[in-house]
Symmetry: C2
Subunit: 734 residues, 2 copies
Amino acid sequence: MGLFAGHGALEQAELDNFGVDWVIHYSFEDVELSQAIQEFRTLIQDLQEAHLQVQVRHGYGPSLLVCIRVPPDLLGNLVHKSRVKDWLHGIIHEFPEGGDYAEAEADTPAEALRSVYHAVTWQKSLGGAGVTPKLGQWKNITAAIPLQDRAANAELLRKWSRTIFLTTEDLDAIRALFGEKVAFYFAFIHCYSCFLIFPAAWGIFSWLYLGPYSVTCAVVTCIWGIVFVEYWKTRELDLSLRWNVRDVGFLKVNRPEWVWDKEIHNPHSGETVRVFSAHRQFFRQLLLIPFATVASVALGTLIIVTFALEILVSEVYNGPMKGYLEFLPTVLFSLSLPSITNLLTEFAKRLTDYENYRTQDQYDLAQTAKTFVMHFITAFLPTLLTAFAYVPFGGKIAPYLDTLREHGLLSANLAREIHIDTSRLQQEVIYLSATAQVLNFGEEIVLPYVKQTLMHKWRDWREGRDSSRHPRRYSQRTDQLLVDAPEEAAFLSRVRDELDADEYNVHDDILEMCVQFGSLALFGVAWPLVSLGFLINNWLELRGDFFKLSLECQRPAPIRADSIGPSLMGLEVLSWLGTLSTAAIVYLYHDGLEEVHLSSLLLTLLLAEWAYVGVRFIVRSGLQRISFISLRREESKRYAMRKRFLEATSGRVSPRAKPKVRFQDRVSVFSSSTDVPGGKEDFLHPGHDGMGRGGRFWSWAPQETADAGVRLIKALNGNMDGSRAGPVKGAKGA
Amino acid sequence: MGLFAGHGALEQAELDNFGVDWVIHYSFEDVELSQAIQEFRTLIQDLQEAHLQVQVRHGYGPSLLVCIRVPPDLLGNLVHKSRVKDWLHGIIHEFPEGGDYAEAEADTPAEALRSVYHAVTWQKSLGGAGVTPKLGQWKNITAAIPLQDRAANAELLRKWSRTIFLTTEDLDAIRALFGEKVAFYFAFIHCYSCFLIFPAAWGIFSWLYLGPYSVTCAVVTCIWGIVFVEYWKTRELDLSLRWNVRDVGFLKVNRPEWVWDKEIHNPHSGETVRVFSAHRQFFRQLLLIPFATVASVALGTLIIVTFALEILVSEVYNGPMKGYLEFLPTVLFSLSLPSITNLLTEFAKRLTDYENYRTQDQYDLAQTAKTFVMHFITAFLPTLLTAFAYVPFGGKIAPYLDTLREHGLLSANLAREIHIDTSRLQQEVIYLSATAQVLNFGEEIVLPYVKQTLMHKWRDWREGRDSSRHPRRYSQRTDQLLVDAPEEAAFLSRVRDELDADEYNVHDDILEMCVQFGSLALFGVAWPLVSLGFLINNWLELRGDFFKLSLECQRPAPIRADSIGPSLMGLEVLSWLGTLSTAAIVYLYHDGLEEVHLSSLLLTLLLAEWAYVGVRFIVRSGLQRISFISLRREESKRYAMRKRFLEATSGRVSPRAKPKVRFQDRVSVFSSSTDVPGGKEDFLHPGHDGMGRGGRFWSWAPQETADAGVRLIKALNGNMDGSRAGPVKGAKGA
């Protein structure tokens, strides 16, 4: 708690950003001096040509800090133009008034920063400076980031350390500071954590009264998972409407790496659009299937071998150094995993490059989808093996081990009798929900913080030593240049630290939550307290992630998004697999693995599958009404906007100025047909313009119509009475 | 062919609609004379108050024809207002210019007629005459319809009788004549028939080389079904965009029967909206589950009993009158089915009434969904029983029959040995795809036509006889009134016939196609030529349905819709069930029913289920790109529209008039917080307005920045060189 609260007493100097909107880190460590000077001059020139104010200071090592400020009137105009663009693409619906030179005030810091981001990174043809870090001519720019708003960050952390639930206003605040993409992650983890309260409470009840592998508990967990995923979709829609980012993906600019294969001239907008053909991309995406297969086989084999070795050593082997040998496979696995994952990630990246996505969003999503597959395998395969191979069928390998023993491959005195540990699944699940979460939190948040603090200490100490040992090492002129002005010193040191910090990758955090949800959905039934562990972890995780984002990482550019992305599909897949896995676990373990029939197991799976489809359909139909209400609310907002516009317009047009449309000039049904003479005709009144033959039909005066009808009624009434009574009566009358 | 072509020679008198836009049929058969006169006067008054021109003529029997014409300028204004409403609700995106009194020309007859329809039926508060046929005070109005456009109908029929494929322009023509709801049906049957070409060709190949129950054939059929359903979704979206009807359901007016339970004041539009709470409706909808259960059990029991009796008689019984007794169960079933279906339909209608839908659309859809369940059971249960109960397990009832025989319940000499007819499934499927289609076509289209023609002949004959037998039955005055003017006679007789005709129910036709698709998906694998039969049938069916719609039925009011409705979900369900059924049939029948294991069957089903989910996912992802392209095209249309508006607006605002926004007046991140002094702050430049402490930081002049940076680069370069070389070099220099 002190970790969070301690930042309440930040000094003013710590908070002051000196009016700097954006900082570029130019590093010339591996560059010739003359080239460095040339590149730097081009950089400054490009920035100044984009009307940005620039100041330069030195960084750590051979690097420069280029501080950028957007002049207020330019920023106002950029914000306005960005809104006009949003309006043109239908992202916002209120027309931004004021013409080309208008200035608008940004609603949030994120909106202002996004305009700054565009001013710095967009191509010159779009009005930016075209400075794209780590790419092409700017490959020596290692970072280009906005500065953290320490006061606001600290305030949010302080507030959250005292509350349990976040409000929608808190999410708005994250959005205002870091943009929608990050805000969606926090909305997700918060929504997920709130949903966890129910299975946590239910888990305590189950643990006390039902025990593990209970059917009731399984059904409740599965339905809960489906409800959560479907509810999150409605929540996502709701937030995307609240934040005006629905369908924002449509408007993103092209990635610089993107290749187009044809130009399409749009007759409506008069613009020429470059596209990459969809089916080519689709066929390229199909490469995901062999990739996923290879990745699964590679990782799967590794995991299975490790698993088998570990089992062999711990359960069968009984010789010397058992204590060490037992851990050997896991250690070897852990050591080789990073390089294998790196290799696969590198390959996945190449595949994603080849798939050639137009926008950075799409690119990120495709890459995340691939990472998802790998995460899934490494996170769940060991437990899946335990649940569905080792425990139920482990007993069946005993005879083979005996065979090995008989053939002397296992020395008899080194091997003991095989013993299948049926509680192993539960142990692993407990590990997943408690130990793994704590370790993960430490690795993700605490360790980097400690590392960072130590590194700062060490640098300070070294610099202090250097300057005290070689006080006159540099010429007087150089010295002066490389010493910060006293009032800037604290600020610049903070800027250097922020540029040195890691990039924040929101996809990783989302994936972590998805894996957690997956553990719960797949194996939660084995130990009912799983969700309680996750709930406690997530209270800390949310705050820890914000701590990481605001104090340990670079402030991310405020990117917009209208969803948590492909992880949503991951959640759906996990809730489906979870249903199957839960059903199978309950069937296998509920009665103690004694009576297992293949056909009953298959029937269980089939019924679980159908139940999943049915329940999801009902839940989705039910929850779609919430989405429907959100959409209606949004629609009525737009309706009101259009109505205001209509009222404003109808005031402008005088009734006398109404255009007189000749009604008979209507087009024909056969718009492309040449059969209709004259091309156009009045199809409701062909040949009749109130006159002509129809004129005779319409000749009765309006006031006569009612009377004529009444006469007809009477006549018909008489007629019918007559006809009803038959010819006899008629004959009488005659 | 002659049936279609014969209408080419329609006389001008046949085509002439005398400028009548709409006809109301007022029948006073069961009404007191004074009440009839009163009701009729109110009707004419209401119509005239809505500014409609009215003429009255007598109908068949005790009834009146009220012919309505909308004056051209009123119609133009109604069309304009309807477009303004569409625009306000976001259905169309081009703003209809021209103020309150503008007149617009309708693009299609359907658009014009829709405005007439609204003028006649909408409540007075909405500007209509409030004349709702068969409802409340207007329960004696038996019909209110537009008149058929004989020329256009005949032209379309003639054109289609000579072509195989319909073009999108043909669909546009149907839409122009009958509105989008009907056009969507024809688009659907056409799209489906085109898709049938592939399985028909493949079916011929399979029939020749693979035979029935082939695995390849099964896989192809299932994938084809999934592709068709997913493709139709994209086609539907495409057409709804083409016809400007996307999300048109949003704007429909309330049904007169609809009940609201609360009023919601909308702060955005300033309007008060009446709603019926969504969850109450949802819970009411859940009653569908018991309804479907009861309906299934009732129909199911009936079908099973019939089936069992028929089997018993045809396969076991061997006594006298076998030839008649064999058909008895089926005849009894066919006789009792209509009353049972009527009962269930009546109950379904009450349920739908209770579910209280706001719009007629929603009501129709809910009712159709229920009909779908019943159709499904009656259409598929007999064949399902044959495929999965009688043929595979029929042999197992033989011992029970023997028991019956032993106990004397079946006299031994009347019963022969049981004999299971394994080809029965194939026979039923052949019946479904050939005989049933022909019978259905006859019943649906030919029979009503013959009936209608005969009835007209009989009426003409009777009237001729009446007038020749009792030439002076009526008084001279009445006679004159009830004799049509010679130039109107043909027209009025046509109007009377059209009012007498049946209503066209598009949902029934859609359902028929869904059932056909279901037969193919569920049982197609048993006889590969099924799709060929369907293809031939559908060529005729499309034209026959249009014939029915244009010559045998009332012209429907041109209702808008953006989909074929709930049948779409029906198609999805059928393609899913089809996959399971096909897999099971192939497993059971492929190797001649000899080696059937329950676990293998279950495994087959499970794999089929997963394959279905996987294939559907891939197909959907692939085809969503088409939707995506449609949506992008639509979006770029809107973009162009907005761009034009922007250009028009920016011309109006002079650059000098730009509003000057003070940049430091931005709102805080903490919009609801009181922590920030002053409430508002410049969050990018807190405390800095270009001056102040930040001013010192920004003090280097712009032109100096580059030079300052270069000096820094050089200084850092020297520094780093020094530090790299270590203190020795530094000491040397010193």
